[in-house]
Each structure stands twice: as C-alpha cells, then as structure tokens.
Symmetry: C2
Subunit: 231 residues, 2 copies
Amino acid sequence: MREITLPESGPKRKLLDAAEQLFAEKGFEAVSVRDITQLSKANVAAVSYHFGSRENLLTLVMTRYMTPVNEERIVRLEALERKWTGKSVPLEEIIEAFVRPLVGQVRKSELSERLFYKLMGRIFGQQGDGLPPQIEEQLRNVVVRFTRALAKALPAVNADDLAWRIHFMVGGMIHLLAHQDLFQRLTPGTSGTPPMESIVSRFIRFSAAGLREGVEAEAPTPKGPQVMFDF
Amino acid sequence: MREITLPESGPKRKLLDAAEQLFAEKGFEAVSVRDITQLSKANVAAVSYHFGSRENLLTLVMTRYMTPVNEERIVRLEALERKWTGKSVPLEEIIEAFVRPLVGQVRKSELSERLFYKLMGRIFGQQGDGLPPQIEEQLRNVVVRFTRALAKALPAVNADDLAWRIHFMVGGMIHLLAHQDLFQRLTPGTSGTPPMESIVSRFIRFSAAGLREGVEAEAPTPKGPQVMFDF
DNA sequence: AAATGATTGAATCGTCCGTTTGACATTGGT
DNA sequence: ACCAATGTCAAACGGACGATTCAATCATTT
C-alpha cells in the first residue's frame, strides 16, 4: 500500500496542513495561496517554492489520502474475494470494503474528524471537473471492480438497475462525507452526532437494502443481533 | 404556486439564460461576469445594470427554479396527506412527492434536460455555504415536513436512524442530478442514458427499500406489475 | 571562519475580476 | 420636434490573484 511520504514537520508540512484545513473548510476554489501562507505564517512565495505552483499543492492534497483510500478499497475487495472463493461475497461486506477505508485514513491527518471527512467529500464532489487524472482513473477502476463484485453478489439484479443503484449509493456516501455537519442543522430533533462508525454502519444497511431491492430472498444475512461488524 | 416573473425576451432574459447555461456547465464560482456577457453578446456593464450585481444574478438563478420546486414539494405532500387521511401515506408516494417536482420544472427553462438537472444538482450541492438564506430556509422546511411524513409512514424506524436514512437518500438525489452524465463515463457497460423518468422510478424504489430496511412486513406495496407510477 | 546551497522576505509583475463612469444611442410620450 | 427616460458602449478603476524576482538570511559542510 503506497504511502505519500512527507516530512513530519518543517515549513512544507505546515503549508500542507494549512492548505488541507482551508480547503476542507472553504472549498478548493475559495482558498488563495495568500490564505494558506498567512495561516501557516509563511511568505507568499512559499507555496511556489515548495510545491511549484498552487495547482501542484492542490493535487497533492487531493492525492494524499485519496490514493491510499482507493488502494485499500481494492485490497479489501480482493481479500473478500479470496475469503469467499466460489461462494458469493455477502453484500454488506462489499459495501464495507468500499466505505471503511475512509474511516481508516482519518487518523493519519492533522485534521479533526469533521474536517477530514469534509475534505474527502469535497474531493469526491469534484468528480467530472478538477480532479487530477490519476484520481479519476483510480475512481473509475474502483467503480468497475466493485460493480463486478456487486453484480456477482446480486445476480438477480439487471445490470442497468444495478449501475444506477450503485450511483445512488455513491451519492449517499459523498453527501454523508461532505455534509455530515449540515445534517444536524437540518434535523434538529436528533441527538448529537454519533461517532462515524455508527453512521457507517447505518449507511451500509441502508445501501444494502437499496441495492437488493426487489430480490426474492430479501436478506440472506443472519437476522440475529448485530455483531456482524465490530462497530 | 408563486412564479418568478421575467420578460420572455430582451437582453435581461438573454443574460439570465446565458448565466444559467454557464453556471450549469462550469459551476457558480468558475463563471465570470465577462463570460456571461460575452455569451449573450452584451456589454460587461450589462449585468450590473440589469441585476445590480453578479451576486444578485446568482441568487436569481438559484431561486428561479428552486423555489417552485420546493413549493410543489409541499403542495404534493399536503395533497397526499389529504388523500390518505387517517391511513399512512405509502412510502413510495412520499418519495415521489419529493423528487418529482424536479422533473416537472425542467420544461420551464431554456436549458437542455442535462444542463437543467446539473444546475439543480449544483444548487443543492451548495448547501451549507453560498445558498441564499431564503432557499436554505425552504430546504430546511422541506426536510422537516418530509421527515415527519416519513416517520409516520415508517413508525417502526427509530428517529435517528430515519434521519440518517433520509440524509443518504438526499445525497443520492443530489448525486443523481449533478453527476448524471458522469454515470456514463464511470460505467461504460450500460446502455445509453434512459429518460429521467425511468431513473426517478429507479431512485424511488432504491430509496424506499433503503428507508424501510429492517422493517418486518418488508413491503406493503402490491407486488404486481409496475403501473404504480405513470412513468 | 569561509563557502556553499537551501530557504525566506519584500516588492513587483501581468492578468483577471466585479463594478463604475460618462459619453452616446434609442425610445416613447407630449 | 423636443426631451426625458432608458438602454448600450468602450474605457477605466481599484483590488485580488498566482507567480516571479532578487537580495537577505540561515544551516551545513569544508
């Protein structure tokens, strides 16, 4: 699993951390290099000097966590396919392999949980314009691989239907990341934000139900107490 | 149902149409006043003259279809509650009342279907920062009303769970709008874009299944042929 | 201590932005 | 025909942007 190596301290690291924080808070287009250098108490020229250009810094921020996430997704999926050779992989485990890596990367950043997920959401939301080509390709690969796996897990669902259902699921995930905080403001009745783990668990159940809509034996999953995932 | 009145032709209308097109294509922040006036063959000063400021034009574009959509959502929901007084409103009909108004407004713009939905998706995606306060309030109201209705339709689902499931559903809808075209590039195996109507139908089924996940009598809906909605 | 290369700082470049100005053209009512 | 209101236009404004320059400073090695 490739890691993007960076100095643990120093001005370069400070710039990157500031950039991440501001990008997460205000979005990629709304942050100037002057904002970044001001927050990290560096000179305006620092970004050009250390990263070459604002654009480079931007793709570095985007790549830094996104690439490990996408690689872990593939690794997890392949592990599942190895584990269930012959048999079909349970739907919930596939979805978990898709979402879980996001939770796993959160601790590797200096950002708060809230900002980290927001940053991830913003990156995913850029799909179609503004994403570095490498990430676009990673995402395409991930979608293709997971679509194949889900098709195997749901042979009764026609290909077009399945593709759209995956589309909806991905949308739900992006929204969950980007607007986790907004959720509170819109639904004041609910109790405070639960830990991401329990939200992910809810997301997996929601998506699984949506994906297997209309399938006969509605759930081959044991209906017992929920210790299926350790969160 | 309030309408935003605008001249059917003239430079003001031309500016607005150009603005809508460009905002839909490139996003709100990526379009300059000069882009707009150039496309509509007007002078740079035209936007300031006719709309006061770029900001005003922006909120006008955002309000123009969004307000009717949100109002129609409420109207439809109230109609459903009248129709099913006493009984609980079927889940699918509530979701339809939530999504359908978007399809209804598409013909009122000069934009192609593709661009119109993209514009709507961009507006929804701005939630949290950059939306005119009036629209934020409309959305909050819509979410509250529909949450109440869905809670009645799904008494077995606990409030927190339901709120999150709605959150996921909304995310799916936004993604569907904003990245309808992206869907194709990511899943090349599928046949060409079906009409929005059939996508909406798929979305309703997906969301309904996700919302009622874990509920005992899995579907009180007739399992017969699908003439439930006329699309 | 001197020399060398890496980093910083202040100033400045050219460009694009939204908006304003003031001269000019068009229109419609009297 | 006149005038006032309305609309259009090229030009320019001040500001923010990303990037660059170049001298000053720092750290490391010799």
